[in-house]
């Protein structure tokens, strides 16, 4: 049974993990923020306390107008409650870094109080070493191992008066608790602002007077800084120290007086002795001087006589020499003219020779041409002769061949005749035979024709015929052979004929060649003739040349003889010259020796004179010196006596930590966060608690059927309620735990880390869990959420089971107010009507959402507004109210001349020039109003109230009405008026030097930084019964920038009249640096507000959708598209967001105004309103979150199952 209930519990968580985590996260955020921001202020203080304790930071320090002695230290150490005492030396001087001059403070390394922490490098080991400010490394570009050389600030000041060393090697970087912020002190040298500190070994400082004594108090470290306990412990010791102060002051004064008087007496004695000694020395010197003067006048006379004799001798010798020289010069001139002539002759010869040379060359060339021509002609002749020979031979051969041929011809003709004769014989023989044959034939025919032919005869006749025929055949053959022989002979003849004709043509050819040869021979002959002529000409030229040459040679001989004569003349001249030179040299040496003798004598005389003069001068100066020295000594003694009379009685200042600006400022910063932490996270927490509370209530309400069922089954009320209570308890408890750990660890850490930009020495950031904030924040969260669950369970459980199991009557639809305004309602779209009606139907959701969204918008408005308020301060104060560029603090001892020098400087254009300036009196005073509390304010009395309007604007903050100073009332600034609780017409008391004066407030003027009381000079005079002594100058310096202001300030500080400067820009930048550290806080607030806005919107939308699931399912079934379904819901959400954002903007305005007032400190008033743009940003951011959440919801809407519509009403 118990199991089933447990199972139900865990399943509930599992199925509604969205809601569970939502509650858990909202609670975590709320708790984280509430506990985290609230713990930041104590954590900041704790962190600083831890650091200061670690470094043995002073609890008290003692300063004295005359410094502190070793005896003072001992006396302080003996005071009950003092733990450690440490005396410190300090010296402000310059260091050159390249061309830039840095103003450094040199301090003695502390021993037991304000201990250094070496963050880099090592500690000092000897007198030549130093450890430095981290700023010197970071900003000025020095490194460990670099050397710095100290330059004394005053022109006449000697470094060796103060320090034993002048150059130091940087061996480390030291963090000093005295300077745990990045802001450095002001100083009276250089730019008026020290750039960094440097720690030196204590023995480097020569003085045995300490500039300050630092003290720690027993038991103070155990108390937390800034706490009342701490103040109480320290105040006790402070009082005791103040008790011994008068005794120590007297001791110091007497000590100084005794020492000084002894010294003065000593000096007087010394002076008297010195006077007597000086006088006797002076008398001796005067006697010696007179002796010397006599000696000198004797010597001068002797010298003058000798000089006259010497000058006569020299003049004679010089005349002789000059006549010899004239002769020589004449001879020289002659030689020169002869030499010139000789030179001309030589030149002519050379020209003639050149001509001859040219002609001879031409001739040689021509000869060469002739030779070549001759050679060519001879070669031609030879060829021709050879040609003739060949021709003749050919002709002979031809003739012999012709003869042979003719012989052959004759023999052939004979053979032909023979043959022709034989032919004739043969033909006769043939003819005979042919006749015989015919005859025989006839016989035969006759024989044959007889009746009885005689055969024998016929046969015989036949035989005879055959024999004849045979003979005939033989003869024919012979005849043929003969004919052949004849034709052969004819062929031979033809051949011979051809040979003969060839020979004839050969002959003709030969004849032609012969003719040619002959013509060539004729040409050659002509050539030969020409050559012969040329030869003749050549020979003539050659002989001409020869004669020319001979002429030249004779002329050359003439010239040579002339030259020889000339040389002889020259030699004679030279010997003459040598003689004269010799004479001159002799004269010179004689003169020189004489001059030297004279000079020596003169020098001796001059020396003697100057010696005498020196002696006189010495005497005079010695006398004067002695007198001056005596006068000085007398004056010194007088001065010392005067000074001693002027020595103020020393005054001790016993100061606690509250006199340290950084320490106080840090507390203000912490308190500022604390002030933000009072309201802002509470609003945040309230929104978170309310949302988770609603969520729980809704959860219980939605399960009334289940509750009824369980109740009907007989479960006890507790058993039923337990599920919801545990659900709420576990979610809120886990959320709280996460929130308080994360919040208290993370938020303070982030904020303190951001502040470390200003306070770099906070090495260890402490963020312990703060029991008080943890328990209150998580307790509130758990009680809220669990209580809500219990309460709603209780409400449900009162009802009977039957009632519970019946579905609760749905909230009735009702006409809303708007419907009665017919003209609006009727003009609205149907869907808008539905949306509007839905909004007013779910009133709880309506107000919850408006509150949630509005809360977030308000937080964002505040976060943006915080930035506006802070960053606006510098703008308003320095752009709108304080118009001047620079403030000069005047030296109290400045006289008229000093002041004129200053005005001159300001009026002069030395790169920068003061446009306008005014004098004023400004002093810090304590001011009291109606109450007991007094506040510090600057009483400001301008020289001319009319002119001052240009410098500082006095006006009403809201209306901008300008206020003028009058002679009856003062104008005070707004914050001061608020603190004092006074308004126009009230009286306030200003206290100067323990004298109270009452003045009437005339106006209350806009102002944001510090407090001021403005008073006219006339009123000042009537109030304080004395004319105001001007101690400040405010000036307009056009073109002043952060770069050039340093050198300008340095020049101003060099003037006697100026003891301090500050530029408005510098003050402004310092101020902005401090306030900008709030930027990270703003960012945290913004991020947190954003996260809250997101979770709240998500959660509320989640509830909305879960509760209206049935309605949305029905709409889906009706056929609405997904987008239309979403629009149905979105329309309401958009309306809710608009209303919520507007409400939030209004709420944010008041939240901002409230918190900003509580964040303020005494000396600052923030801008009271946020910029319009901040509201716009806040509203835009709210919408962005809203849109984003709605976009996420779109997917949830899509997932709604239509089947839901079929289920019964729960």
């Amino acid at each position: 049974m118990r199991n089933a209930i447990n199972k139900d519990f865990f399943r509930e968580i599992k199925y509604t993990i969205n809601r569970y985590v939502s509650i858990l996260l909202i609670v975590a955020l709320g708790v984280a923020f509430l506990a985290g921001i609230r713990a930041t202020c104590p954590d900041m203080k704790l962190t600083l306390d831890h650091y200061l304790d670690e470094a043995d930071y002073m609890d008290l320090r003692v300063l004295s107008t005359l410094g502190l002695t070793e005896e003072d230290l001992t006396a302080i150490a003996e005071v009950d409650g003092v733990k450690e005492v440490d005396g410190a030396h300090s010296y402000d001087a310059f260091v050159m870094n390249g061309n830039e001059k840095w103003t450094l403070r040199f301090l003695s390394e502390p021993v037991s109080v304000n201990k250094l922490e070496i963050t880099e490098g090592r500690e000092i080991e000897n007198a030549n070493e130093c450890v430095v400010d981290h700023l010197l490394i970071e900003k000025d570009g020095y490194h460990i191992g670099d050397q710095i050389t100290v330059m004394p600030p005053g022109k006449d000041e000697k470094l060796s008066d103060t320090l034993t060393e002048s150059t130091f090697t940087i061996v480390g970087v030291a963090a000093s608790p005295e300077y745990f912020t990045t802001t450095r002190d002001t100083t009276s040298i250089g730019t008026g602002q020290m750039d960094a500190y440097v720690f030196l070994s204590p023995e480097v400082f020569k003085s045995d007077i300490y500039s300050a004594v630092y003290i720690t108090v027993d038991g103070a470290a155990a108390k937390q800084a800034y706490s009342d306990d701490y103040e109480a412990v320290v105040d006790k010791v402070k009082a005791k120290l103040e008790d011994i102060s008068s005794e120590r002051e007297a001791a110091r004064y007497n000590g100084i007086m005794d020492d000084a008087n002894a010294e003065i007496d000593d000096a007087r004695d010394k002076l008297a002795d010195a006077k007597a000694e000086a006088e006797s020395e002076l008398d001796d010197a005067w006697a010696q001087i007179q002796d010397g003067e006599q000696q000198i006048s004797d010597g001068q006379k002797e010298l003058d006589d000798n000089r006259a004799i010497y000058e006569d001798q020299i003049a004679a010798a010089k005349a002789k020499l000059s006549s010899g020289e004239q002769e020589l010069q004449d001879g020289q001139a002659e030689i020169v003219s002869n030499e010139q002539k000789l030179q001309e002759g030589q030149t002519q010869i050379a020209a003639a020779r050149q001509q001859l040379e040219d002609s001879s060359q031409t001739l040689a060339e021509k000869k060469q041409q002739y030779e070549a021509g001759l050679q060519a002609a001879n070669a031609g002749q030879e060829q021709l002769t050879a040609g003739q020979t060949k021709l003749t031979e050919a002709s002979e051969t031809l003739q012999s061949q012709e003869a042979a041929l003719n012989e052959q011809k004759v023999s052939l003709q004979e053979q032909k005749e023979n043959l022709t004769a034989q032919q004739t014989v043969l033909e006769q023989g043939i003819a005979q035979l042919e006749t015989q044959e015919e005859a025989l034939e006839e016989q035969r025919n006759e024989a044959a024709s007889q009746e009885k032919p005689d055969e024998a005869l016929i046969a015989q006749l036949d035989a005879q015929i055959a024999a004849v025929q045979e003979q005939l055949t033989q003869l024919d053959a012979q005849k043929n052979a003969l004919a052949e022989g004849i034709s052969q002979v004819d062929g031979g003849l033809d051949q011979i004929e051809a040979g003969l004709s060839q020979i004839a043509s050969g002959k003709e050819e030969l004849n032609k060649q012969q003719e040619e040869l002959n013509s060539q021979q004729a040409k050659l002959d002509e050539t030969f003739n020409q050559l012969t002529e040329a030869k003749i000409q050549l020979d003539a030229g050659s002989s001409q040349l020869e004669s020319g040459r001979q002429q030249l040679e004779s002329k050359q001989q003439e010239l040579d003889s002339g030259k020889a004569a000339l040389d002889q003349a020259k030699a004679q001249l030279q010997s003459g010259q040598a003689e004269i030179d010799k004479g001159k040299a002799e004269l010179k040496s004689q003169m020189a020796s004489a001059e030297a003798q004279f000079a020596e004598a003169e020098q001796k005389l001059t020396d003697a004179k100057s010696e005498l003069a020196d002696a006189k001068e010495k005497y005079a100066s010695g006398k004067k010196e002695a007198q001056e020295k005596i006068a000085d000594a007398e004056k010194e003694i007088q001065d010392a006596e005067d000074q001693l009379a002027d020595v103020d009685y020393p005054e001790w200042y016993v100061l606690d930590r509250n006199s340290t600006q950084a320490y106080v400022e840090y507390e203000q910063n912490a308190e500022r966060i604390g002030a933000i932490g009072k309201i802002f996270p509470l609003i945040f927490f309230l929104v978170a608690a309310l949302v988770s509370l609603t969520t729980m209530t809704r959860m219980v309400e939605s399960q009334r059927t289940e509750i009824g069922t369980l109740k009907a089954l007989g479960y006890s009320n507790w058993a039923i309620a337990r599920k919801y209570v545990f659900y709420a308890l576990s979610a809120s408890l886990i959320g709280s735990l996460i929130g308080l750990v994360l919040g208290q660890k993370l938020l303070p850490w982030v904020i303190i880390t951001a502040y470390r930009v200003l306070y770099p020495n906070l090495f260890v950031v402490l963020t312990p869990l703060n029991a008080y904030y943890s328990i209150t924040a998580s307790g509130a969260a758990v009680i809220c959420v669990t209580g809500a669950a219990l309460a709603s369970c209780y409400r449900e459980l009162v009802a009977s089971p039957a009632e519970l199991m019946r579905p609760s009557a749905p909230a009735a639809g009702r006409k809303i107010l708007l419907e009665h305004v017919g003209f609006i309602w009727h003009h609205m779209k149907f869907t808008s009507k539905v949306a509007v009606r839905n909004l007013f139907r779910y009133k709880k959701r309506f107000f919850m959402t408006i509150f949630g969204i509005g809360g977030c918008t308000a937080l964002v408005v505040f976060a943006f507004g915080l930035t506006d308020s802070i960053s606006g301060v510098a703008h308003r104060q320095y752009d709108e109210l304080f118009h001047y560029d620079m403030t000069l603090t005047l030296d109290d001892n400045a006289d008229e001349t000093d002041m004129d020098e200053l005005y001159d400087f300001l009026n002069r254009d030395n790169g920068l020039k003061a446009d306008q300036y005014t004098r004023l009196r400004s002093m810090s005073m304590s001011v009291k109003g109606n109450g007991e509390a007094s506040y510090t304010a600057y009483l400001t009395v301008p020289e001319d109230t009319e002119v001052y309007k240009d410098f500082v604007v006095l006006q009403d903050r809201k209306t901008g009405t300008p206020y003028a100073m009058d002679d009856e009332t003062v104008i005070i600034t707004e914050k001061l008026a608020n603190l004092l609780g006074v308004s126009t017409g009230d009286k306030i008391t200003v206290t100067d030097n323990d004298v109270d004066k009452e003045v009437t407030v005339g106006h209350i003027a806009e102002n944001y930084l510090m407090s001021y009381v403005y008073m006219s000079p006339a009123l000042y005079e009537t109030t304080f019964s004395e004319a105001p002594k001007w101690n400040k100058i405010e000036a307009f310096i056009p073109g002043l920038t952060s770069e050039n202001s340093e050198s300008y300030s340095a020049e101003l500080l060099a003037l006697n009249a100026v003891s301090g400067t500050s530029t408005t820009d510098y003050v402004r930048s310092k101020f902005e640096e401090v306030l900008n550290s709030l930027g990270i806080v703003t960012l945290i607030l913004m991020v947190a507000a954003g996260m809250l806005a997101f979770i709240v919107l998500y959660n509320l939308n989640n509830i909305n959708i879960t509760e209206r699931r049935r309605e949305l399912a029905t709409i889906k079934v009706l056929g609405f598209y997904d987008l239309e379904v979403a629009e149905y819901v979105y329309r309401e959400n958009i309306l809710l967001t608009i209303i919520g954002a507007l409400v939030g903007a209004v709420f944010g305005k008041y939240l901002h105004a409230y918190i900003i007032t509580s964040v303020e400190t005494e000396v600052i008033m923030f801008i009271r309103h946020a910029d319009f743009s901040s509201y716009i940003y806040a509203i835009i951011i709210t919408f962005v979150f809203s849109i984003f959440v709605n976009w996420l919801m779109y997917y949830r809407l899509k997932k709604i199952d239509m089947v839901e519509s079929l289920k019964s009403v729960e």
């Binding site: 309605e1111 009706l1118 056929g1119 609405f1120 089947v1203």
Partner: protein
Amino acid sequence: MSEFVVMENVKKTYKMGEVMIHAVDGVDMEIHKGEFAVIVGPSGAGKTTVLNMLGGMDSVTSGKVIVDGRDISRYSSRQLTKYRRDDIGFVFQFYNLIQNLNALENVELALQISKHPLDAKEVLKDVGLEDRMYNFPSQLSGGEQQRVAIARALAKNPKLLLCDEPTGALDYQTGKAILKLLQDTCHKHGMTVIVITHNLAIAPMADRVIQIKNGRVSEMTVNPDPRPVETIEW
């Protein structure tokens, strides 16, 4: 008369972890245009699943659902929305009126998205709520609320009117009156009406009775002579 609604072997399977549940396991049925059809069956038989699939509220695992010639079982979710918007009128057991809107506005809400809507006032007059138009749901009785719901469904001028246990939350007399209104609507306007009920007693008034058991159609009868509601008692 043609077959206006056809289901062919329609199955719907839910997967619950490892187990497959066959809510509808092969339903075959047909309903003609202008018919007053009653789907009856015991609880868990799959009636509502069938209705969901017919109404385009749930997808079909397999099989075909044809309405007026179009197979809606293949429709995308957007097409199904359009189908519900234009073709279907739905009457719920618990009326599902928007509590924050009066009777007329509830009807108008449906008309906002309808293509060919009827006049809201006319329809309300038809269902007999002429005098209660400006009343909110909480000011109306159950029967009146159901009449508003029917008016809302009819005003869209749908092709098919689906009613899920329309009398389930009503008393006997009122239930009868509602059924009569539905029957009259069917007969006068020729509207196809499908009523899902577990009450077998009202079967005689229907033109067609479809009985479902264990995810299947166990019996489908056409009643040639449906009786008027007044004559039925249960």
